[in-house]
């Protein structure tokens, strides 16, 4: 018998072990839900799976009586748009300022303290300010995401740029590169995959800010819907929405990882065989 640390599950075993906790949770939930519903058929806390299907069917595949929209998809689209804009703009700002701060000592001396100070502001505390300044429209929600994650992205990118070995920058100069060329040919391509990593890390926070902003001021969106139906204790809508958000987050993360592997093969050294 090998030591425990040297025993590895096979492929099928890994799938089984990974899925097992999910199955267990579903089973426990079903058991608890059945027990409560047997006692009180009108219980709202732990609805049966059938109610989830029914609620989502109603929201996703039947037009809303009031507006004629398919609410589930409308919510998803609005939220993803806000998230995409917020994260996209943050990534662009983070990349630009991170590189400039990292590579140009004068810019770093000038901007680094400011970025640090801004990163210490709790974004939720200035949400009212955003509503006052930008109104209750789309902009303030996007801006909340930007304020929430951009300082992290700038600081992370700056750090990644500073981690590029000084030898490489000297080498580039001996090959005749000027500052702009060093940024374009040495720094930018090397921090792009790291930007994807940083974005993946900041997505959790981005969702948090998105849902918070939607909960407070919006007329659609996944966060809006959850907080709206909370008044009616509609767990049959809330729980599938939460699961859907989780799935979206997972898919976005997976796609970013996939893009990184495809676009930057040098950043992901092949394990074992390569051609």
């Amino acid at each position: 018998m090998k030591k425990l640390i040297n025993q590895h599950p096979g492929k099928a075993g890994r799938w089984f072990l990974g899925l097992l906790p999910f199955l267990l949770i579903a089973l426990i939930y079903a058991g608890a839900s059945n027990a409560r519903l047997a006692e009180n058929p009108n219980d709202k806390l732990l609805p049966a799976f059938a109610s989830f299907v029914e609620a989502i069917d109603r929201l996703a595949f039947e037009p809303s009586k009031r507006s004629g929209d398919y609410l589930f998809w409308q919510d998803t689209l609005s939220s993803l748009k806000r998230l995409g804009m917020g994260v996209g703009i943050s990534a662009a700002i983070g990349l630009t300022f991170g590189i400039v701060n990292g590579i140009i000592p004068y810019a770093r001396a000038n901007l680094s303290p400011l970025v640090t100070a801004i990163s210490l502001i709790p974004p939720m505390a200035i949400l009212p300010v955003l509503f006052i300044v930008f109104g209750l429209g789309e902009l303030s929600k996007v801006v909340l995401i930007i304020i929430g994650i951009t300082p992290f992205l700038i600081r992370d990118m700056q750090q990644r740029v500073l981690e590029i070995p000084g030898e490489q920058l000297i080498k580039a100069q001996t090959l005749g590169a000027n500052t702009w060329q060093i940024i374009l040919r040495v720094v930018l391509p090397q921090v792009l995959p790291r930007l994807l990593d940083a974005v993946r890390l900041s997505l959790g926070a981005a969702w948090l800010f998105l849902i918070a902003a939607e909960a407070i001021a919006a007329t659609d969106g996944l966060g809006y819907r959850i907080f709206l139906v909370r008044r009616y204790l509609s767990m049959d809508v809330i729980l599938p929405y939460v699961a859907w958000i989780t799935l979206l987050a997972f898919v976005i993360d997976y796609v970013l990882r996939f893009v990184s592997r495809r676009a930057f093969p040098w950043f992901h050294p092949a394990k074992g065989a390569d051609s």
């Binding site: 580039a172 100069q173 001996t174 090959l175 005749g176 590169a177 391509p189 390569d274």
Partner: protein, 261 residues
């Protein structure tokens, strides 16, 4: 007028005198190997030639003009590590210098200049024996291959001086011998002026046309920082008979801490 003139150069770090009154000149095509105890200032000297450090006193002239105070295309360098770009393939690494030259704005060459750069880079890779690995990324190459790539990359733009800081220190002996052949071949063929630091005196004798030993001449036990290293031996290696070399060799092993061969 000599090619490189080192004119009464001193280097201080704070109140520590590292290099003391270096004064000599070097002609085009000389291959200078530098040995000396660890911490005596060899890298500091190379950095002054490179432009990342400035002399505290004195000056260094290249073809009669003071060296630029920052690295530029006149001086190529190969470090012990991190000399090649991990995000570029071998071919792209070698092409880089030409691309930077052709397009000052974005640093990418297009069209015919790109094809010319590619051909030239492939030739260069051929010379250092890396043609089969042209499309591999550096982390797919062995240490020796990476150093060969670094040399090819440095030489494509024909720098006036090539600086090597223990370039083969991390390689095993068999590969070192290959690298010696490569460097000697390129040096003779292109009449390169090379400064190379090594910890291996034998390597220094074998490769160089001129061997420098850096050492402190005076030592004050009360103030160990008060005196710096100088060039204590300046030996035209090529012109010395083997028996004299052996003499100096034994002499040197006493000044320089013993090296595991």
């Amino acid at each position: 007028m000599s090619f490189i003139r080192i004119d009464h150069v001193f280097k201080f770090y704070g109140d520590q005198l590292v290099l003391e009154n270096l004064h000599c000149s070097v002609e085009r095509g000389e291959f200078i190997t530098i040995v000396g105890a660890s911490g005596c200032g060899k890298t500091t000297f190379l950095n002054m030639l490179l432009g990342t450090e400035q002399p505290s006193r004195g000056r260094i002239l290249l073809e009669g003009k003071p060296l630029a105070g920052e690295p530029d295309e006149n001086r190529g360098i190969v470090f012990q590590r991190y000399s090649v770009f991990p995000h570029l393939t071998s071919l792209q690494n070698v092409m880089l210098a030409r691309e930077l030259e052709h397009n000052r704005w974005c640093g990418y060459a297009f069209g015919s200049s790109r094809r010319a750069a590619r051909r030239e880079a492939l030739d260069m890779l051929e010379q250092v024996g890396l043609a089969p690995a042209a499309n591999k990324y550096p982390q797919q190459l062995s240490g020796g291959m990476q150093q060969r790539l670094a040399i090819a990359q440095s030489l494509i733009r024909q720098p006036k001086i090539l600086l090597l800081d223990e370039p083969f220190g991390a390689l095993d002996p068999g590969i070192r011998a290959d690298m010696h052949q490569l460097v000697l071949g390129l040096q003779r063929q292109q009449n390169l002026t090379i400064f190379m630091i090594t910890h291996d005196i034998k390597e220094g004798f074998y490769l160089g046309t001129r061997l420098w030993v850096f050492d402190k001449v005076r030592i004050d036990p009360q103030a160990p920082n008060a005196f710096g290293a100088r060039i204590t031996y300046d030996i035209p290696v090529g012109k010395t008979s083997p028996s004299v070399l052996d003499d100096i060799n034994t002499n040197l092993t006493e000044t320089v801490p013993a090296q595991p061969a």
